[in-house]
């Protein structure tokens, strides 16, 4: 009897102790994560709510707080008839094409560097350089290289017999393509490094088994390498697509959305509307649309992932 009571007693004290221990853990946990949480709440979560709220208002920043007029869905209706916005969305969609292009180049480079070359680290560094370089500096350099009448690229094209080379970023038909070319160039390094990491996680015995079966290089690529890289490709595709919706620096430095709106993208137009024309409500409705795009892609990721990614 006494023994039993003692056992119960002991149980109670351990439970008490574990509860107070748990309390301590919770407190410690909150203390560790609170700086991050406070920062994220104040600088991202609250602003995102504010963006959504402001997207239903007509507000010119200079007018002060009393100048806010609530207009419901008017901004969104206006957006769908705003030619410049529609053009920006279309440019964004065209820009998406850059993603598969740099992914293919990166994959080829990664395979070559992983298996078929000497001096691997030189190549990793060389192809990675544009990624670490500041986009502003890089954009300035390309601006000069693309100079239509005496820039090095067109001088070269003329010298090999192309008498009427494109005017690149000064030409509405070529400006977006020029920006895409620069993006391909800067994105290869990052994608290649991720692909190399993906390649290194493929088990070697798969290739050994294929060798025994007498498979050639092409078969090995299509039956082993490519499928085994699918989760890496998927990751890169999603992050790549999302990043195309955020393209800003290069547009701001190189073309400012021009010539005649040919390189205007959602984010550029948003910036222009908010900080140049000071139409806060209208810009917020664009930000809300942008947010919807990104959420849609992220949601699509979860659905598609199950279908075609090999793990």
């Amino acid at each position: 009897m006494e023994q039993q009571a003692a056992a119960v007693n002991a149980k109670v004290t351990t439970r008490k102790r574990s509860r107070s221990l748990q309390k301590g853990e919770t407190l410690a946990g909150f203390l560790f994560v609170s700086p991050m949480l406070i920062g994220v709440s104040v600088l991202i979560l609250l602003p995102i709510l504010a963006t959504i709220v402001l997207s239903f208002a007509d507000w010119n920043f200079v007018a002060g707080w009393n100048g806010i007029k609530w207009t419901g869905f008017e901004n969104f209706q206006k957006l769908f008839h705003d030619m410049q916005f529609i053009r920006s969305v279309r440019n964004n969609l065209v820009f998406l094409l850059a993603v598969p292009i740099y992914m293919i180049i990166s994959m080829i480079l990664a395979i070559l560097i992983d298996k078929y070359v000497y001096a691997k680290s030189y190549f990793k560094i060389a192809y990675f350089m544009p990624y670490v370089s500041s986009i502003v500096a890089v954009a300035v350099v390309w601006q000069v290289l693309f100079q239509p009448s005496y820039g090095p690229i067109n001088e070269f094209l003329k010298s090999i017999g192309i008498s009427d080379p494109p005017k690149w970023i000064a030409d509405p038909n070529f400006a977006l393509i020029s920006i895409m070319m620069i993006t391909v160039w800067t994105s290869i390094g990052f994608n290649m490094i991720i692909y190399i990491a993906g390649l290194q996680s493929i088990p070697k015995d798969l290739y050994e088994a294929a060798d025994i079966d007498g498979a050639n290089t092409w078969t090995k690529f299509t039956k082993i390498t490519f499928p085994m890289l699918s989760s890496t490709s998927f990751f890169l595709l999603i992050t790549g697509i999302i990043s195309t919706f955020k393209v800003f620096d290069i547009i701001a430095v190189l073309t400012q959305g021009g010539p005649i709106g040919s390189t205007s993208m959602m984010v550029w137009y948003l910036y222009d509307t908010a900080f140049v024309n000071l139409k806060i409500g209208y810009a917020s409705s664009m930000a809300t649309v942008l947010l919807l795009f990104v959420l849609l892609i992220t949601w699509g990721q979860w659905v598609a992932q199950k279908k075609w990614v090999n793990y």
């Binding site: 700086p35 602003p47 806060i280 930000a287």
Partner: protein, 279 residues
């Protein structure tokens, strides 16, 4: 000829082709450096002169750094912002990463989820409210404001959390038995063990902050507070046709990055590969 020699020959040929490709790939950088050493009259001479006829290296850089363009000031601003952001961000992110991975508390999972979700939100979607907030609390047009924008990094937290999770719980359990609290464990045991990961993140954060264009463009007004990226752009539109000087400016802007990258290239590349991070 046996198959290994054949293999070597094949590998050498591919290496050579890849080398040629890498030179082509690096051409804009090479052109930039060469041009920064040239006299203006030689910049667009065709065929290209890869070695300048007339060396104006010292004059060009002197003009950019000490001339009217006040590069030393913008350099100092960029260094200040990038170093402070890096230090504070490493501290906040590693604290949060430890909290989310090594402290067992109930809310941990969904708090982490909230933090992760914010990563999906494009920074541009919150610019306007951030701008209004900054005007209201007086952080607008200050370096402190820029630092605050850069130092709450979800990516950093996520990346460091991966590494903290890799630490064996036995370390922490045994320290607890010895009577150490979480802050002691964090500082004396966990942090030293993930130091390489923190260093990797620090390098990346430095590079990203140094390269940041959008935040200084929107949140800085005063000429004397501008960071290098904005200054370069202003300088470019101001000096108009002086391409040799512009290139001296861009070389100066990229140089610290190249130095940081070459010193830390191994950990940067590994960190990118492990974390799959995109800045």
């Amino acid at each position: 000829m046996n198959s290994t020699t054949l293999e070597h020959i094949r590998k050498s040929i591919i290496t050579l082709i890849m080398f040629a490709g890498s030179i082509l790939f690096l051409m804009p950088f090479i052109w930039m450096i060469v041009t920064s050493f040239k006299a203006e009259s030689e910049v667009f001479v065709y065929p290209m002169q890869w070695i300048p006829h007339e060396w104006r290296a010292i004059e060009n850089y002197k003009e950019v750094w000490l001339g009217e363009s006040k590069f030393y000031l913008y350099y100092w601003n960029s260094i200040k912002v990038a170093v402070l952001t890096t230090l504070i961000s490493c501290l906040i992110s590693s604290l949060a990463a430890y909290g989310f991975s090594k402290v067992q508390f109930k809310a941990s999972k969904w708090l982490f989820l909230i933090v992760l979700v914010t990563y999906m939100i494009p920074t541009q979607a919150v610019l306007v409210p951030q701008f209004i907030l900054y005007r209201a609390i007086g952080l607008f047009d200050s370096h402190l404001g820029l630092v605050a924008l850069g130092c709450f990094s979800v990516l950093g937290t996520f990346m460091l959390r991966q590494f903290f999770m890799g630490l064996h719980n036995d370390y922490i359990e045994s320290a607890k038995i010895d009577g150490a609290g979480h802050f002691k464990i964090f500082y004396f045991i966990a942090l030293p063990l993930v130091r390489p990961a923190v260093a990797t993140y620090a390098i990346l954060r430095f590079i990203w902050t140094w390269n940041d264009y959008q935040n200084p463009l929107i949140f800085i007004r005063s000429e004397k507070l501008l960071t290098l990226q904005i200054a370069i752009q202003k300088f470019t539109s101001m000096s108009g046709e002086f391409y040799s000087l512009i290139m001296a400016g861009t070389v100066s802007a990229i140089l610290p990055l190249i130095i940081v990258f070459i010193i830390g290239q191994k950990s940067v590349i590994e960190g990118i590969a492990v974390g799959g991070v995109k800045g």
